[in-house]
């Protein structure tokens, strides 16, 4: 000691020695921890437990990144993902490449039967009629071979079907309707036939062609599908008014089919001609050479539903111009646009087809190299007004709801995968996006007046229903096309006159005609999916309420940790205070505390929890307090016993003899000796707390808005079959709870190895 005294005289070396001493103490603590850690880590339980908890910690830390939807207990998956139209039926009609006009419309041949027919044509000219929705079940969904258009080496390029009132019962005013099929082939032939499914006595029989007319436009080939004034083939909407014509020239028909227009290319001089063909006898009324050098891109009839003959026009677009011809073949007007060219998608809102008004306009899309424009062309003078511009040069489809004022109430334009909803010229109401990869949106959306929705379809067969009322959840349903479809024709809306229900039908390349209901059905809980119409991913699907299970699962990690650790720590702190006090001191207060602890300990745990949660508002904080309140007595008794036995140990006496006060004994002897036990108890108490809150939420005593695994399992209590029907929802929280609790138990086993070295395996 004296030697060291002399060494201290140099202040420099003293500082150095002090630093060395401190370094040595720190190094000692580190090596001590490392030793303890090695003992712990060598234990298989400890190791496994450590990695389990490490996983939970990592997930918890990453949870803000991993979580897909904040506030997952109130987030509900969009209906586009969770609502689908139900497949009503599908029928094989022959393997054929799906073309735009291969399937054609609907038709109700006889109101008495309420039958709907869907007609489809194959490449070899075979027309088939699919009868749907009859009241008699025997004929429901039956496919009839209707007729074979003799096309002789050419292929049908278009088919359109329209319905006319055939006769009216003078007593009952009941109308008899007939379907007419118009087929054009590549060799310039136009066929028109009436289909009837009643015999002369009015009894229902198989549909069959009644009158067959055919004409050939010589030296011509169709550039665009021929259209009729009655029902332009692009007018996919259900006509709400019957088509009467004063002079019906078609025999056997109560109304006029009207005129048929065809744009042809002459094989002799390569010029393009517009030809009007009268329905009666299919005679050519006039032929006008179009002042264009390139093939016209689109053709549309304006004023199809004008009840009386009005300013009906046939509109033809080429690249930069739109030409409007009157019914007598004279040019009414023409316009030119610059910078962009018409794509041929000419769309006339339904109301403008009904009555001639000055503001009636024709919508047409035009694409440029780097932009696209939606034009509204005034029907009376041809003035083109841009009503929407997009910076993407791929405006593919347009549609609109009816509108009787200057602008249709809603216009939908699809550019790429985006849908632009306009409620006025250049007034964008909403921009919506659809998932890419579902095929191109080449078909103009159907407008369904019953549900006031746009039905958007892709070439691959996906269908989405967009409510015109928009809101947070604008899509009312969505249908992802199964890949087996390969591609579909233009879908049609059909309305069952008898039931008032609508359906969507299309022909797919796999040879089937599909019929889907027009309204969606909720399919929650949906299984895990990474590809949804909305673009969301649901790695663990949804639950019955439509919540994202993944987000709930991930959001439960921090909450469960929070509950576990706070309950564990509060319990431990209270228990240590009580335990040390009761264990170390003798006397009245100690006895009272002992009795209090015992009282709380002896109250049945679950009953107390139920009682407390019903009295106290079970918020997260309160739940933590309640669980802590029930958790501490057990720990207290464990600590108390240890403290009492420690008190008897000689080293405590030795410390007292050395002059140590109570505080010093507590701090230097009691705490270090109960510390390993504490960590053991904490791990048990954390897992216990998580189990307890899971129990409470499972039983519904704590609101499931506190996002934990127990909350996720709450519905299971009402319907145990969910475990089988929706395992993606039930299994993750179950596994997580089990693993979490087991992780802590394993860790406590590992700590046990450190604390009780005698148990160490040889």
């Amino acid at each position: 000691m004296r030697e060291s005294g002399t060494a201290r005289s140099d202040p420099q070396s003293e500082k150095e020695r002090l630093r060395q001493l401190r370094r040595r103490r720190i190094g000692f603590q580190v090596s001590r921890f490392r030793k303890t850690w090695n003992i712990y880590y060598r234990n298989a339980y400890g190791k496994v437990g450590f990695y389990i908890l490490l996983f939970f910690v990592v997930v918890t830390i990453l949870s803000p990144v991993l979580i897909l939807h904040k506030d997952p207990s109130s987030y509900i998956a969009p209906t586009i993902d969770t609502t689908v139209p139900s497949l009503l039926s599908h029928y094989y009609v022959g393997n054929d490449t799906a073309r735009q006009n291969q399937i054609s419309s609907y038709g109700s041949s006889a109101t008495v039967s309420g039958s709907n027919y869907v007609y489809t044509i194959n490449a070899d000219g075979q027309i088939k009629a699919l009868k749907l929705f009859t009241n008699s079940s025997s004929t429901t969904g039956r496919v009839f071979d209707l007729t074979n258009v003799s096309i002789g080496g050419s292929t049908p390029i278009s088919m359109s079907v329209f319905t006319l009132v055939q006769s009216v019962n003078v007593v009952t005013y009941e109308e008899t309707l007939s379907n007419y099929i118009l087929v054009a082939t590549s060799s310039g032939i136009i066929n028109l036939t009436r289909i009837s499914d009643v015999n002369s006595n009015g009894a229902l029989i198989a549909p069959h062609p009644v009158i067959w007319q055919s004409t050939t436009l010589h030296n011509s080939s169709f550039v665009l599908p021929p259209i009729s004034t009655v029902l332009p083939i692009d007018q996919s909407n259900i006509p709400a008014i019957p088509f009467y014509s004063a002079s019906s020239s078609l025999s056997g028909s109560g109304s006029n089919v009207g005129r048929i227009f065809a744009v042809t290319k002459s094989t002799t001089n390569s010029s393009y001609y517009l030809t009007e063909i009268m329905d009666s006898g299919l005679s050519v009324a006039w032929t006008e050479r179009l002042p264009v050098s390139s093939p016209p891109s689109g053709m549309q009839v304006y004023g199809a539903f004008f009840a009386y003959s009005g300013p009906q026009l046939v509109v033809v677009t080429d690249q930069n111009s739109m030409y409007a011809y009157r019914m007598n073949g004279s040019l009414a007007w023409q316009n030119n646009i610059t910078g962009v060219s018409y794509t041929g998608n000419v769309f006339i809102p339904q109301d403008y087809q009904r009555s001639p008004r000055s503001y009636n306009s024709i919508l047409a899309t035009a694409n440029g190299t780097s932009s696209s424009v939606l034009y509204a062309v005034n029907a009376s003078d041809g003035a083109a007004t841009s009503i929407f511009q997009s910076s993407s040069p791929s405006m593919t489809a347009i549609s609109s709801s009816p509108g009787s004022t200057g602008f249709p109430s809603t216009v939908a334009a699809i550019v790429g995968n985006d849908i632009y909803i306009l409620n006025g010229p250049n007034h964008l109401q909403e921009k919506l996006s659809l998932a890419s990869g579902a095929g191109s949106y080449g078909y103009n959306p159907l407008y369904d007046p019953l549900s006031d929705t746009f039905i958007i379809s892709t070439s691959s067969g996906s269908l989405y229903s967009l409510s015109r009322s928009l809101g947070n959840n604008p899509f009312t349903w969505g249908l992802e096309a199964p890949t087996s479809l390969k591609g579909i024709s233009r879908p049609y809306l059909i309305l069952n006159a008898a039931t008032g229900l609508e359906a969507i039908t299309f022909r797919a390349e796999n040879g089937y005609v599909y019929v889907y209901s027009g309204n969606g059905k909720v399919i929650n809980p949906i299984p895990p999916t990474f590809h949804t119409p909305s673009g969301n991913i649901f790695p663990l699907g949804t639950n019955t309420a439509g919540n994202d299970v993944w987000s709930q699962f991930i959001a439960s990690f921090p909450t469960d940790w929070l509950v576990g650790i706070s309950v564990g720590l509060i319990g431990i702190v209270v228990a240590v205070i009580f335990g040390i006090f009761i264990g170390y001191y003798r006397g009245f207060i100690s006895v009272v505390l002992d009795i209090i602890t015992l009282t709380v300990f002896l109250i049945p745990f679950l009953a107390l929890l139920i009682a407390l949660t019903s009295v106290i508002k079970p918020s997260l904080t309160n739940v933590i307090w309640i669980l802590s309140f029930t958790g501490w007595p057990f720990i207290t008794f464990t600590i108390l016993g240890i403290i009492r036995s420690l008190k008897q140990r000689l080293f405590v006496d030795a410390a007292r003899v050395s002059g140590a006060g109570t505080l010093q004994i507590m701090r230097r002897h009691m705490m270090p000796n109960i510390l390993p036990l504490l960590s053991y108890l904490i791990s048990l108490s954390i897992s216990g707390a998580i189990g307890a809150i899971a129990t409470l939420q499972f039983l519904g005593l704590v609101p499931i808005t506190i996002q934990t695994w127990g909350a996720m399992l709450n519905s299971l209590e009402e319907n145990f079959f969910l475990a089988a029907t929706a395992p993606w929802w039930v299994l993750p929280p179950t596994i997580a709870l089990t693993l979490f609790v087991m992780g802590f138990i394993f860790v406590s086993r590992g700590i046990d190895e450190v604390v009780n070295p005698r148990l160490r395996s040889r």
């Binding site: 000691m1 004296r2 060291s4 005294g5 201290r8 003293e14 020695r17 002090l18 001493l21 401190r22 040595r24 000692f28 090596s31 001590r32 140990r649 000689l650 080293f651 006496d653 030795a654 410390a655 007292r656 003899v657 050395s658 002059g659 140590a660 006060g661 010093q664 230097r668 002897h669 270090p672 000796n673 510390l675 160490r760 395996s761 040889r762």
Partner: protein, 758 residues
């Protein structure tokens, strides 16, 4: 391998002439978590009928492994070499024992265990260490011993009962214990019952593993007496395993000295004791405190037993041996036969032939420093410590008022402990020694009486301040003055009994006094490093805030107790230390504040034999260097004689004899003192444990006799002793005893009883 039926076995019993137990090149290694540990190596021993072999060695030398392998009990992590045969049957060998047992086929295992079950208890029985505490507390002695017969014989209940009484009598008990539960028996009776159990099936070999450890010296003498009788009456072979040279010397004709799993020496007991041919045996003899040689300097064996996992190269004792040279470190010595029947494992055995086992060095430090008689450091006046016994629920509620019983742990004790002396308190367990120490140090509050502490010097603590840190200048004057101001208020006389724990005086007293506990394993916090343990008093008394200063003080305290270099011990935990090192650490903790007064409560009783001498020398050294006063509490007379200046013999809380050590040991006056002295086993053939004149065992201190406390056990007891408390008889200066009779009267009474008994 064929099983013999009991009748032919009886015949074989007499006809078997080979060794009953034979070890052939036997060795055991244990595979453990930390490596392979060699427990035994190259053991060759034969034990014949009628022979008693003693096995001695320090703890961890493989004694118990050796004993249990005779029973075929090898832990299943043991790797066995060689073989052990019991009456010619192999009970343990490399193929069937330890790790390889698991590899046997099921049928072989069953055959082996059937064979062993038949051999155990019938051929060889064992008294396990501490087995007297292993009785099932819910069984009566009859049922407990009866189990042996039920398992191994087909006798009827009546026959079993007869046999039980027979073996109990053989073991020195009578049939009154048959219906007793273990807790109703005293330690000696329990140990006898264990012996009875071992004798039950009259085995040829009895193995006694530490048969007297944990027993009081008086009972130990009686058990030794019993074992001697059994040995002489039946022609059994006996193997006695003990660390106590005295016990083995009394029982065994042949002794085997084990060290770190190797046999160091074999030979006739007396021959080995008087003429050890192995340095280890020599060192063991020299470190063994006995009443004969206690005034000579004892020498502990330096160092510690080699770590069990270390490489076993050369002579394992080499680093502790005074004769060791390079050859010892490099080359493993073989067991050589020096004389007929004398084997030793040493390269230098020849040198030892001339040496005497006694150390030649006189104990220069044993000469007591001059102690002034009036310079008292601790004075006890009429100190009583009664513990209340609560007998019933009602009693516990109203214990203060009604009919509660007391344990009179310390009853009306008056002592002066002088400054600078080592004052010994001696007695059997239960006589109140530890309680006395705790009362003085104020771990217990005395029921009545007064304990006064006289602090040296009139200037109070201030002078102490400088005593504690010589060479340290007070570096923070503010603190210094504060402490000094406080110190001036400290009186130089401290009333310990009346003061409250928080009083300044008690805080001062805590600084001057210290306590070293019996159990070094429990008195060090297992969670604390040595540094923290020794630092504890410094923190408690806020001696310094400078970490360097406290570090220096700790280092100096550790070097004082020969833990050198102290830096190597700073970061070690108690489980990393040997027993001796632990006790040194507690001593360092006691010394770090340089106290004036230390109570040592049996500081060596839990240490290995080789370490005891070292620690006792340390006590003497401490007293010499630091002028401390020591209250030395022990049950071991030999060690008391070695270290103490004065002795107090305590019996059931009452001091029955006191005087200078030499006076008490040479001329014991009180019958109890005489019995205690006679009961200490001496490694000489003429010691007769049967001659210990004392009745029964120490009772409890609850129902004490009205008169003399020793009345019930005293062979001299007369009518007067029963009701009249004995007066104090003064013999010479400082030497007195409590008795009704003077020495002559006692002598006469003794002759009378002798005559009567004849």
């Amino acid at each position: 391998m064929t099983l013999t039926n009991p009748i032919t076995r009886e015949e074989n019993d007499e006809s078997w002439n080979g060794p009953l137990v034979s070890f052939r090149n036997f060795g055991v290694n244990f595979k453990t978590f930390d490596g392979t540990l060699t427990a035994l190596e190259e053991v060759d021993i034969d034990v014949y009928r009628g022979e008693t072999v003693g096995i001695i060695g320090e703890s961890g030398c493989g004694k118990t492994t050796l004993a249990t392998s005779i029973m075929g009990l090898v832990a299943d992590n043991g790797i066995v070499q060689g073989e052990v045969r019991l009456k010619g049957e192999i009970v343990a060998d490399s193929e069937k024992s330890g790790v390889n047992y698991r590899k046997l086929k099921r049928k072989e295992r069953r055959m082996l265990s059937e064979k062993l079950i038949n051999l155990r208890w019938k051929e060889a029985s064992m008294v396990f260490q501490g087995s007297m505490n292993a009785f099932n507390p819910a069984y009566t002695i009859e049922k407990q011993i009866g189990e042996v017969f039920k398992i191994h014989t087909n006798l009827t209940t009546g026959e079993i009962r007869q046999r039980i009484i027979q073996v109990l009598e053989e073991a020195g008990l009578n049939s009154s214990v048959l219906k007793a539960f273990p807790h109703e028996l005293s330690g000696g009776m329990k140990q006898r019952a264990v012996l009875a159990m071992a004798l039950a099936l009259s085995p040829s070999v009895i193995i006694a593993d530490e048969p007297t450890t944990g027993l009081d010296v008086v009972i130990q003498a009686k058990i030794i007496h019993e074992l001697k009788r059994i040995k002489n009456e039946s022609k059994k072979a006996m193997i006695v395993v003990s660390h106590d040279i005295g016990v083995v010397s009394q029982l065994a004709e042949k002794v085997v000295v084990l060290y770190a799993g190797r046999i160091m020496e074999i030979g006739n007991t007396w021959d080995v004791y008087q003429r050890p041919l192995n340095p280890y045996t020599l060192a063991l003899m020299r470190s063994y405190p006995s009443l004969e040689k206690s005034r000579r300097r004892m020498e502990g064996i330096p160092g510690a037993t080699p770590p069990p996992y270390a490489e076993r190269k050369g002579c394992l004792f080499a680093d502790r041996c005074e004769f060791a040279d390079n050859r010892c470190i490099e080359e493993k010595p073989e067991l050589r036969e020096m004389d007929p029947g004398r084997f030793t494992r040493c390269h230098h055995a020849e040198k030892l032939k001339e040496l005497s086992p006694e150390s030649e060095k006189e104990v220069e430090m044993l000469s007591s420093p001059i102690i002034e008689e009036e310079d008292v450091i601790v004075r006890l006046e009429g100190v009583k410590e009664y513990f209340t016994l609560r007998t019933s629920a009602g009693g516990s509620l109203f214990s203060k008022e009604f009919g509660s019983k007391y344990v009179r742990a310390v009853d009306d004790l008056t002592i002066d402990i002088r400054r600078g002396e080592i004052f010994g308190v001696i007695g059997e367990s239960g006589s109140g020694k530890t309680t006395l120490g705790r009362v003085i140090i104020k771990l217990l509050d005395a029921t009545s009486g007064r304990v006064t502490y006289f602090h040296h010097g009139s200037d109070g603590v201030q002078s102490l301040e400088h005593d504690i840190h010589p060479g340290l200048d007070v570096r923070k004057p503010e603190h210094g003055t504060k402490r000094e101001r406080k110190a001036t208020r400290t009186p130089s006389t401290i009333e310990i009994t009346s003061a409250k724990e928080k009083d300044q005086t008690i805080r001062a007293f805590r600084r001057f006094s210290q306590l070293i506990f019996q159990d070094p394993y429990d008195s060090i916090d297992p969670k604390m490093s040595v540094y923290d343990v020794v630092n504890e008093p410094l923190i408690a008394h806020r001696v310094t805030k400078d970490p360097l200063e406290s570090r220096d003080m700790i280092a100096s305290a550790l070097s004082t107790v020969h833990l050198i270099p102290p830096e190597n011990f700073f970061e070690r935990f108690s489980h990393e230390l040997s027993g001796g090192e632990r006790q040194r650490v507690t001593a360092a903790r006691a010394l770090v504040l340089r106290p004036e007064f230390i109570i040592m409560d049996e500081p060596i009783s839990m240490l290995d034999v080789s370490l005891r001498a070292g620690f006792m020398n340390l006590i003497l050294e401490m007293r010499k260097n630091f002028e401390i006063s020591v209250l030395y509490i022990t049950h071991d007379l030999a060690s008391a004689r070695y270290v103490c200046d004065r002795l107090l013999v305590l019996y059931l809380g009452v001091g029955v004899e006191s005087g200078n050590t030499e006076d008490v040991v040479r001329n014991p006056a009180h019958p109890y003192t005489r019995a205690l002295l006679n009961a200490v086993p001496k490694p000489t053939p003429d010691w007769n444990p049967g001659a210990v004149e004392i009745i029964g065992e120490i009772g409890n201190a609850i129902d004490v006799p009205k008169g003399c406390r020793f009345y019930r056990r005293c062979v001299y007891a007369q009518e007067v002793c029963r009701d009249t408390p004995p007066p104090r008889m003064d013999l010479e200066k400082n030497h007195w005893y409590l008795c009704h009779f003077n020495l002559d009267q006692l002598k006469k009474i003794h002759e009378g009883t002798e005559n009567r008994s004849e």
